[in-house]
Symmetry: D2
């Protein structure tokens, strides 16, 4: 059984919009407009049960998934979505034992997911030029108990990664074309990489650079996620939809010298 | 270094449409309209290099990713896409050590990805009512070297899963509402599940049943993937696009008794 | 030259979100958070010019298009979008002289566009079971100067339309399948019709009924409109997007008796 | 009653993919793999009826809509879709009496729709630098009986349009930014225009130029059309979908001098 501890994360769930991610030690009482929830009383209980607020409202006590955690982190400085991360980790084949190089760290949301997947024997090497960002990310990763699977480096990844023979790479910087040379040197021959870019101009410039550096299997895609309101006799797509998050560019390093185009 | 062996999978890559997934022992010579490739000569070489056909055409020798393998398997009897699998595995938090229950096995494409992610300490319990399907899937999983992470069961999952305290569940059957009771009994309280259904009618009926059985956090979504042709000065989305694969429904089991609606 | 009169509609335009549709007689002074605009001073001026508020802010004085007018009307009780109306009027071939039957009138937004297109020799026959709705719609159509191209009828269209040999039909009611018999009797053989339905269930039931009544060329579609933020070096789709408005079902009446399916 | 004549267009309809647009004089016998249809025997009959081939197959005899005609023309040299044309004509408010300037003519598909809408008192002025294109377009417009509503001009629209005080403008050329000056001079102050461009780069450059020339209300959008297969109990979006046709950019001319950005 998974009993709730003082330092366990809890997702207090009412509906898609009303959800709180807390820990009993930090938030012994949760004040909501649905009443107050006695969080400390949940310690020792099992996840999945219902708890009642002082106003009599029932809330479900869930064990947060890594997706809940990542989305919580992401809300601060980055926009990264499970739909995009999902395609990236499947296309890159990130799993137990993978060694992955990433830049930039940002808030550590992507880093957290990668670390979660490479445990217990892999490692994520994450670069950011901004030491303050990495401090935030480091704390986030620590709180998730994933620190031993992440190596943080404050450095300019355009000047190179120190790691070699990486299984996969993730680029989430504004000028990813400047890091393709570093990525090429760091990846194992044949290894895949992914880059996240909001604009078409970035994707355009990035793909040209990847071709120059001999990457193959180049694909740039975007994912549109739409909710379906599935209700008996009244099913329809949601009115509300996110129109764009980012373009995802994938490719694989080759061992040959870069080819003239 | 990853040297190619007689039984290693090789992805011979020319472009997005011309790619072959083979093994030297099975296919010592690869006959293509670009000429013949001497595959047996690649044994002992490193992935990532280029090889030349008898007609002088250059092909890249890649190490297939799990995504390449899964898509290859999927082509036979199932339609399942990396975009959908990616969101599922991220939302379910499948990783090393996860214990996942799945029905139906189908060609084993989804099973293969789940097994890949739960290694080295987890297990995928996969049910199919059709023993012939499972035989195909079993061979596929064996060829991928993932057999020790999969337990195959020929059984009607509507009658129940034998496993308890599962970390996550995946439903890919035509009548998923009939399996929600079984899924509820098998999942750990608070654990997430995903169901894959092509029609709106299935999603509608499924969601109603999940509510009845006390699942929360219900969401039905679809993902539209669009390629961007990123070319300097001529960037545009691709004309060709898949309009629909499936609706994905997510939810989490609660420990309380099912609530009247 | 198109001089602005006391009763002319004016679109005061600042940007996509800050726009006001007014008439000098109704709104001699326009109070905005950008300052006050002396609207009565615009009388006699030409459209297309810039006017300055008391706070020195420049606003453009545009002549509203029919689309501006329709969208303004639509905001009250109906959700209808130019993207959907555009496909409908092109598929139905609505133009000068067309005789179109419509139910329900709603706020008259669709009616207004149809009337605008059928002038100077056509007619829109619009039915609504609710007399209060039609009163609102009537006033809207009058203000637009399109009354002579619209015949309003308060009646239950499920019991039949009085008109025969109509060139086209538009259905925007909750139970369009109940009106297909009426529509069939009212349309010219071979004439096209369109129905607007928010849910998949409605579309499903409607299409089945249209087949029963011998309609051919059946198609149900949806249109997703996405904005592109086209800015030099920073082009990207907008984050904000409407996820769903309605399904549009098209078909053509045949003259034969309904066929058994 | 609309009786079919020797020169009437007929849409012989079997299903979405099997449809033929013919005239009795040109095609007295229609040879299809469903048998031969005696088209000359349809003369004097009414549209909407069914006719039987020599193999006993039933085909529906429809009166083609302007959309059928436009799509038929479009198949030759241009890619233009009803979804895009619909939004354009609604946003531009094209209707009886409108005076519209267009470049380039292409195959005349867009021209045909515009002419159909501006009759009986409006005019479409259409420019193309290529006299051979215009010859094809001219014949197409003639066959549709719309010649008196179109003025063809073989000229380089970058050097200017001869018309002034136009109600609306449509640009469908590869370098629309080069024609914005001409368009500005030709449009009535406050009048709307639309431009059709396949790439993001074109939209980017176009919008920058429109800003420079004092256009306001700038919007670039794309429309994704998806079919819904509405079938009782098995409703789902179609697998097949067009991923991209074009970006549509809208704006309105102002009367003021161009503003520095």
């Amino acid at each position: 059984m998974d009993a709730i501890g003082e330092d366990s994360f809890i997702l207090v769930y009412r509906d898609r919009r009303r959800r709180w991610l807390i820990r009993p030690r930090d938030t012994p009482k949760l004040h909501t407009h649905l009443g107050i929830l006695d969080v400390s009383a949940l310690v020792g209980k099992e996840y999945g049960a219902t708890a009642t607020t002082t106003l009599g409202d029932e809330l479900v006590i869930l064990r947060p998934t890594i997706e809940d955690m990542v989305m919580k982190l992401a809300r601060r400085t980055q926009v990264i979505y499970p739909k995009d991360l999902g395609l990236i980790v499947v296309n890159l084949g990130v799993h137990a034992g993978s060694r992955v190089v990433e830049t930039g760290t940002g808030s550590g949301a992507t880093t957290a997911l990668l670390a979660y997947l490479v445990q217990p024997t892999g490692m994520v090497y994450t670069y950011d030029i901004n030491p303050e960002f990495q401090d935030v990310a480091k704390k986030n990763i620590e709180r998730l108990g994933l620190s031993q699977f992440v190596t943080f480096k404050v450095a300019d990844s355009r000047l190179g990664f120190e790691e070699r023979q990486m299984d996969a790479g993730v680029l989430d910087v504004g000028d990813p074309w400047e890091v393709i040379g570093s990525m090429r040197a760091s990846l194992k021959p044949s290894a895949p990489m992914a880059a996240i870019t909001p604009t078409t101009n970035q994707a355009e410039r990035l793909v040209a650079k990847m071709k120059e550096e001999g990457f193959v299997g180049l694909e740039t895609v975007e994912l549109l996620l739409r909710h379906l309101e599935a209700r008996v006799g009244m099913t329809r797509p949601s009115n509300i939809m996110v129109g764009h998050t980012a373009y995802l560019t994938f490719g694989r390093r080759t061992s040959g010298m870069p080819q003239p185009l």
